[in-house]
Each structure stands twice: as structure tokens, then as C-alpha cells.
Assembly symmetry: C2
Homo-oligomer: 156 residues x 2
DNA sequence: CTCCTATTGGTAATGGTTGTCATTATCAAT
DNA sequence: ATTGATAATGACAACCATTACCAATAGGAG
């Protein structure tokens, strides 16, 4: 597992350089923020967190870099129905590992779960193969989310 | 199956009235549009279709009614990553029946599939039960989408 | 038919995200 | 270490889907 505390070796440089991108302060700061949270952050959340250390990094830059990081597969972008996108480090760069999401439709709290993964993975794999073949689709991703009302919102 | 051609009996009145809403021209027109397409329409798509017959129905009204219809469960709202929501009649009002989506990340073409449903449904049911209990979530919905590149975009 | 009130339509505002462009910083080659 | 090509940045404006607002209208129970 790569070192993820912003002051140590630059664990993320390799992937970035490999893809023909330069390693810059904003890029590093954004990855650090994502590596040091358990939450699902919006572009603005990330902007504010980065802003504390580098007050002159702009929101536009955050958006641009998130797009790059999504493209090279280091970050994943999600929509939970809140009207803004949320971002996470992708599985191979995160300490969370592969997981899916359980989303509260009222407060938009998101729970990561990795229970039931054995069943899910084999099920998804076979479905994916079937669909790829039948519809001539080159399938690269899947999205599974469960929606409901969390305990707190139920008792409100 | 309800009659879905705009000139016949008003198949949708019951559900609307039941929920305390009035049946209005725009409401009816929107449902007719959704009932007579195989595609996944955006609010603006629906607005334009409705506009041909009722040029004075505004986009705002379309949005408001879609919200109502989603709330009473006649319509389902989806995000495919295109930056705008798409709408479909829900399973029990649609001739499509229960299905999931296969989305092209490049052209945003959406294929409805209902293969593999037996496996999916049983898998989802058990996962849902497990998650509900473990996380004290009142689960009401799920979302499964596969993403990839369609045949046309692959050869481009 | 009447009245209450849900609904409408037009327009302005909102808010997340993207485009523009002059300036700056990265890094491979020297 | 210096240079030079160009990727990346930052500030601001533009964009676009969606929502808020409000006076005018229309559904439908009584």
C-alpha cells in the first residue's frame, strides 16, 4: 500500500507521470485530501480542504484535476442524487478496498459496505460477460447502489 | 395493461387522483409522451414533445410535474452521467417491464436489458435484506447500471 | 354554479460545472 | 543548472439544468 500522508514519499507520482501528466501541487493536494478522508467529497469540499493549506488554488483547478484523475482511473466520480458529484479514490489507491454504496434519500448520508461482496462479484462477473456478448458492449464499470432511509431520518 | 394512447380512456387518472392531485392537461400530456416512447427522455425532450401539441405548456411545468410523478411512483428518474436527468414510466405503468440499464460512456446510448433478471432479483433481495438489518436502513430502491463503450463508439 | 386552492406560465435566480486566456510552472533535453 | 516547449494554473465569465417566485388560471367537490 502506498504511503498516503502528504509529507512522505510521493506515492502517486508514478501513475500521473506514466499517463503523460505532470505532478503539480494542486494535483498532490487533491490526492492527499482524498486519501485522508473516509467521506465522499464534492468538488467544493475538496476545494475547501485544499484551500486551508494552499489558499491560492482555485475551484476551477480542482474540477480540472478531478477530471484528469478520473480519466486515468485514480479517482471515481459518483452521483447520489444530490445534484452534485462526489469523488473517491479508486479501489487500488484507497485503503477502503472494493465496496458499494447505501444511500439515504433524505440526508444523503452514504454508507460504504463490503459485505456480500463474494456473491456480488461472481454475480456481476457473469452478468457482465453475458451482456458484453449479447449487446457487443465493451463493459468497463458497474454501479450498484441501494437507496433508502437511514436510521436517523426514520426517527425524525 | 392500461390504455396508453392519448385519445382513449384516461388510464392514469386513478393513481393521480388517489394521491390528492388533480388531473391536468400538462400532466396527461407528459404521461402520454412517456408512454409512447422507448427512449429515456430528459425534461427538455419531454417539453419539446409536449410542445408540439400544447405550445403553451412551459418547461417549468414539465419539471414540476415530473417531480410529482416521481413522488407518487409513476415515473422514475435516472442519472446516466450526462449531466441531466432522464425519465421513464415506472415498471407497473410501462410496457417495458422490469429492466436494468447498460450505458455507453461516450454517446450515452442506453440499452434496457432484462436478461439475467432472475439471478439479479434473487441476489438483490438477499443483499437488501442483509443490508437493511445490518445498517438499520429502510431500503426502498436499488440501482444497477453497467457502463462501457457501445459497438458503434468502439469502431469510431 | 361557486369557491377554494392546486396548478400554471413566464421570468428571474440559483448553483454546479465548464470555457477562456493571459500567466506560471513542470520537466526533458541540453 | 539552464532553457524551452507546453502542460497547468487562476480569475472570471459563461453555461445550462433545475428551482423559486408570483400573479393569473383552472380543476373539481359541494
Amino acid at each position: 500500500m502506498p504511503n498516503q500522508n502528504g509529507t512522505g514519499p510521493r506515492w502517486m507520482h508514478g501513475q500521473i507521470k506514466c499517463c503523460g501528466y505532470r505532478m503539480t501541487k494542486p494535483r498532490e493536494a487533491i490526492l492527499d485530501v482524498l486519501a485522508n478522508t473516509q467521506n465522499h467529497l464534492s468538488a467544493e469540499d475538496i476545494y475547501m480542504a485544499v484551500h486551508k493549506f494552499y489558499p491560492n488554488i482555485g475551484l476551477t483547478t480542482v474540477y480540472r484535476n478531478l477530471e484528469v484523475l478520473v480519466n486515468i482511473g485514480m479517482v471515481v466520480k459518483f452521483e447520489f442524487g444530490e445534484g452534485k458529484s462526489k469523488y473517491e479514490l479508486s479501489d487500488e489507491y484507497s485503503s477502503k478496498g472494493h465496496h458499494h454504496h447505501l444511500v439515504c434519500k433524505e440526508c444523503y448520508t452514504v454508507i460504504d459496505y463490503s459485505d456480500f461482496m463474494k456473491d456480488e462479484v461472481s454475480f456481476l462477473k457473469s452478468t457482465e460477460n453475458g451482456l458484453s456478448e449479447k449487446y457487443k458492449f465493451n463493459i468497463t464499470d458497474h454501479l450498484i447502489q441501494f437507496f433508502g432511509v437511514c436510521e436517523k431520518c426514520t426517527n425524525k
